[in-house]
Symmetry: C2
């Protein structure tokens, strides 16, 4: 099986390292980041490219663009792992469209195209008889989409809610455990690399809202956009509010919730009993699904990280291979 | 899609009710319990059979045996949901063999055949080009096998451990919460229908051990039998032991554990921090998987119940239909 890899940041390199460490019989025949690229039908030497990139060099030739890789390389599956752009989803969206039109399967970890253009991309994949997979866009290593679409096939989902953002969960965990203020806990999260210099995307609940839109549109048959999500972040939470919750054996978590029957998508800080399975510590993610036959199920795991995201991407790649890869 | 249903106890009736409630386009063309059966190529009237059975009548004609249904009915998938026999796996084992030899897919909730004869049945299914699915044999409604085999494809599992028996978990939850003795908590579990008159199978860890053998042999590439499981039950646990654990913010749970690299399968009461995701209350099941790429993942849900088991069976049925049902 041959893949083309777009994006060679943390996630792209995580995938390259996993492919090197495991004997999965997957060749990378095209690879590009925003500055350079390589096309090699015989299979790219990933160890050499990783070494070059990690010593500060480019991943390839500055004359080879992502568009060249998408449109000219010889591959079965495009693996699109460039950074998320929630305004336009570009340039990932154009690359995914081009690959689908070439009858190439697509696996992506990029929330932008799936949150903004899923119906169009799904139709394009169906027209061209190829798979479009996106497990890595929601909750990192937790195989949530697989579990719901396949494992819970036949169930009707009445409600889905959980902790979708590890940065917020870390901040809330530290505020509760140490009595820190929001600002103190955020500073600590930044020092540890769990929060960006501009934390707006995480702490205002935008990241969680995007994941809700993806789940709503892709597995819950809803038609929503980011504007449909009622959203409150964690920036105004005080240590006193957390203490009050603790006094009742509860705590506060930033909960994203979908109620398909009522058309509700909501992200907000919620008081939750400490014994509830969703009360996870640190940067973990956790999602509870209420299904009519299966009852209440909770999935807990790491929501981010290069190796964890690589796990979801590789799961999708092997899913496609098991079912259908033309020409291999 | 046409199925033949063997077993019309709690699970079989749960499946029948789910099929009646949902428009899944699945016809039942054969149905039998140990006393009677029906074969009807046009599709059995499940509502009528359920009503008859629930008013104390037979499910069908005493002249139609399970063997008749397996060997003569016209169906795509045999759904085998008779009670588990861990000594011989019979009569389920013979019925499953016969169906596979007829090139029929098999979905089962019966732990006996999968725990005792998986390699033989897997080979038989492969030879005959059909699916053999068994999600319902482990942890009821939790789509654990789907999640690990598909969602975590490409991962190596270093360790898998969890709460596999809801009866024991209920007893331990009550001992810790109320200071009950083992005998008191067991009596309460019996009253609520969570424990059998003879609770040996649950409280001695045999049920959990069987589930470990199934997971080890079917998704962890091991070759084990029930005798390979080190096993200690919960019958000797005292309220004092639980109090000691509580004093350290811990509790005690009956944990089943597999360490594939060390060839270890073990069921025993273990002290575990209360903040660990595995510490679930009541009759829930919970399983933690340590995977090399995905990291630590925990799955929590209902481990038993007719509707919950039906969820797993129906997930398997739709999995097979999505991929391949001959003649439909």
């Amino acid at each position: 099986m041959r893949i083309a890899l777009l994006g060679f940041g943390s996630v792209g390199r995580g995938i390259a390292r996993a492919l090197l460490a495991k004997d999965l019989d997957i060749a990378v025949t095209g690879l590009a980041d925003s500055r350079s690229g390589i096309i090699d039908a015989a299979g790219i030497d990933l160890a050499a490219v990783l070494a070059q990139k990690e010593s500060g060099g480019p991943c390839g030739n500055p004359g080879v663009s992502p568009t060249d890789v998408v449109t000219k390389a010889d591959y079965d599956i495009l693996v699109e792992v460039t950074p998320t752009n929630v305004e336009t989803a570009e340039p990932a969206l154009s690359h995914i469209r081009a690959a689908l039109r070439r009858h190439k399967h697509v696996v992506t970890s990029n929330k932008g195209p799936i949150a903004l253009a899923y119906p169009e991309l799904r139709a394009l994949a169906n027209e061209n008889g190829v798979f479009l997979k996106y497990e890595a866009t929601v909750c990192g290593a937790i195989p949530l989409i697989h579990a719901i679409k396949e494992g819970l096939a036949g169930n009707t989902i009445a409600r889905l809610y959980g902790v979708f953002n590890g940065t917020c969960n870390y901040i809330l965990t530290r505020m509760a455990a140490e009595g820190l203020t929001y600002e103190q806990a955020l500073a600590e999260a930044r020092e540890l690399g769990y929060a960006e210099a501009d934390p707006t995307y995480d702490v205002e609940g935008i990241d969680a809202a995007i994941k809700l839109v993806i789940l709503a549109n892709t597995i819950l048959d809803m038609h929503t956009t980011l504007d449909d999500v009622e959203r409150t972040g964690i920036t105004l939470l005080t240590p006193e509010a957390l203490h009050l919750a603790e006094d009742q054996d509860c705590t506060i978590r930033l909960i994203g919730e979908i109620v398909p029957g009522a058309g509700v998508l909501r992200v907000s800080p919620r008081i939750i009993a400490k014994t509830h399975p969703l009360v996870v510590e640190g940067t973990l993610n956790a999602v509870t699904v209420e299904a009519d036959l299966a009852g209440e199920l909770t999935f807990i795991g790491k929501g981010a990280g290069s190796t964890e995201t690589a796990s979801a991407v590789i799961g999708d790649l092997l899913y496609i291979r098991e079912r259908h890869v033309q020409g291999s």
